[in-house]
């Protein structure tokens, strides 16, 4: 799975730590999601969608090996 979390975060001009606090996870979790080391749950994806004000499939997309 690919994601555009880093870009969306840059658009909002917020740090990993700020985003983490807004959705109630640790900064390391945001870092792992951005680096594609961790695929978040639907709940977390929807929380991100709420923060970015966009539907989930605009910042998460399936890669070829999915």
């Amino acid at each position: 799975m690919q994601n555009r979390i880093k870009i969306e975060r840059a658009i909002l001009n917020i740090t990993q730590d700020e985003l983490a606090k807004r959705i109630g996870v640790s900064r390391q979790t945001i870092n792992s999601i951005e680096a594609n080391r961790y695929v978040p749950s639907t709940v977390l994806a929807l929380k991100l969608s709420e923060v970015f004000g966009k539907p989930v499939n605009e910042f998460f997309s399936l890669s070829e090996d999915d």
């Binding site: 640790s26 390391q28 792992s32 961790y38 749950s41 709940v43």
Partner: protein, 149 residues
């Protein structure tokens, strides 16, 4: 009560049990208990003499309780990723524990028959040895996975 609500209630109770964690302070308490137990194990014969089997087994239990408290205490930052890492570490601990219990008696037998070839008998591992190994693997695995997340 209909079937669905019974199942939902059961599922909720099970989820509550799975998500159960002790408060963060239990990590310190567990660590303290484990350290005290290990220190006393080293100086057991000096402090209590040769005939102290009851103290030995008590210290083993204190060590197990300490490590268990460390294992089930809440993290400073507990989120869905740490929960997943914790589950992975329990899976690894279980798998390596079974392999350890199967393989280690043969390793011990092999090593001791080389060192003491006269009267070596095959013995199985004790529960303490296996449980300590599993808890050790779980704690190490969890904290390593957390560090590299």
């Amino acid at each position: 009560m209909n079937k669905e609500s019974y199942m939902q209630r059961e599922q909720r109770a099970l989820q509550k049990l799975i998500n159960f964690r002790l408060p963060r302070t239990f990590m310190t308490i567990g660590l303290l208990l484990a350290v005290v137990a290990v220190v006393f194990m080293f100086f057991r014969t000096t402090l209590f003499g040769e005939d102290s089997e009851i103290i030995k087994s008590s210290l083993q239990k204190v060590l197990l309780v300490g490590m268990l408290l460390m294992s089930i205490s809440r993290d400073r930052e507990e989120d869905e990723m740490t929960i997943q890492l914790r589950m992975q570490s329990y899976a690894w601990a279980f798998i390596t524990g079974v392999i350890y219990a199967l393989v280690m008696p043969y390793v011990e037998f092999g090593v001791s028959s080389v060192l003491n070839a006269d009267n070596e008998t095959f013995t199985n591992l004790g529960d303490f040895q296996v449980l300590v190994f599993m808890l050790l693997v779980q704690l190490m695995c969890y904290h390593t996975l957390k560090r590299y997340r």
